[in-house]
Subunit: 259 residues, 2 copies
């Protein structure tokens, strides 16, 4: 037989790896959700019933449920009238996943700082334009609060910076834009911390925010976009000059100490 080189005998060429039971169970339940046979709010039978329907043990079903819970498709409530339910999907979980994923990628050079900064600019500049055009009065109030709440000097200062940008994305009226941009913002933040002591930079940031807010209030889309562009150029130059955030010291002792 000379067929080993290409992966095995012809009769076995098309087979696929054995997949663990918990994966197969997760796949089937996922398909039920995606196809619409199970809809948000639906309750699954108890773990024991699901287990006997699939012909596996409860532990296997539980692992499948964990997989789908991690993907935010299910959640579990313990107790008498608890159970496992199909999630009413919420973008925030996807946003968090994206942020951790991007964080890891940026740590492995699969994504560079330049790409993060460029992409942020690509997204936030049009977001500012949209916000000026579409913001509601409530969103305007929230933006003004974010700008004015900035305390003169404290390490919550960053919180207000982020809040301004988040509210602006919200005001753009495009939830997808917010979902994508927030993680990019978050990853950049995790790599660079502007110390509260840098009063000059913080003063410039807050003046920029004030200016953008004014243009958004006035409904000047092009003006808001241009002001945002200048704001980000300023920030980027600062980030580039700062160098990376200092790394945490190496861990001492074993990661998984035996007990």
């Amino acid at each position: 037989m000379a067929d080993r080189a290409d992966g095995g005998p012809a009769s076995l060429r098309a087979v696929h790896r054995i997949r663990p039971a918990y994966e197969q169970v997760a796949d089937q339940i996922r398909a039920l959700i995606v196809e619409g046979d199970l809809t948000p709010g639906d309750r699954l039978p108890s773990e024991g019933e699901v287990a006997s329907a699939f012909g596996v043990s409860r532990g296997t079903v539980r692992e499948a449920i964990r997989i789908l819970t991690a993907a935010n498709l299910l959640y579990s409530v313990r107790g008498a009238h608890g159970g496992t339910f199909v999630t009413r999907t919420d973008p925030s979980v996807l946003r968090d996943h994206l942020e951790t994923g991007l964080g890891i990628l940026s740590g492995t050079d699969a994504i560079s700082l330049d790409e993060l900064l460029d992409t942020r600019m690509l997204l936030e500049v049009p977001a500012a334009r949209l916000a000026a055009q579409r913001r509601t009065d409530e969103q305007l109030v929230a933006l003004r609060e974010a700008v004015e709440a900035a305390p003169p000097d404290a390490d919550v200062r960053y919180q207000h910076h982020r809040r301004f940008h988040t509210e602006l994305l919200e005001a753009s009226g495009n939830r997808l834009l917010q979902l994508v941009t927030a993680p990019v913002f978050g990853v950049i933040r995790s790599r660079f911390v502007i110390p509260p002591s840098r009063r000059k930079i913080w003063g410039e940031i807050e003046a920029d925010h004030e200016e953008i807010l004014g243009l958004v209030e006035a409904g000047d889309g092009d003006g808001a976009a241009e002001a945002m562009r200048r704001h980000l150029v300023r920030l980027n130059a600062f980030y580039q000059s700062m160098g990376p955030r200092p790394q945490a010291p190496a861990r001492r002792g074993p990661i998984f100490p035996v007990r």
Copy 2:
């Protein structure tokens, strides 16, 4: 005591819900990965050892591992020299996760078709500009192949459509832009299928691609961006006119038959 209305007695106001052991274990291991204490390729101790390090049972550790496996942070290999390993992260996996997540959101009205189309335009128009400015010769060859490979009439026609857009994003030189845009593209595609029989539309699409490619070849960034904008306006108008993709028929019989 009159403190029940605001969530409980003052001394317990700051407490948080008990979190299941498997979640706490997953959180700690996730933190080790994100902080860099565990790096891609690292092997965790055996499930039994991890269990005793945390003081829980193996089942609990396994559920935690399933959570992190679903987030593509870990994978398991069974057998004597198997084990659980930290994943070497690859952007394509994150891209796939984003696409399924967006697909589900768009099915539940958490993301509208308009938001998908708007965001795509926001991303692909600058991507076309960047591609014209930065494309390498190899990328130009790939783009030309994608345009010219289009067969006159077949249901692989869509594949070439997608390939052109993917290659263009690649040519923009920003991997993050590609990572974010590809899922948006994919979700739109999953909601709308242009039948190969619509020769007029397909002809227009392919003529647009030809035009964009010419401008990218010429290094005309503004021209390429404008051509892409017109291309997407055309596509969007068509999508809007098509209405949603037909749903599969309802399932008959019980979803979880008892055995």
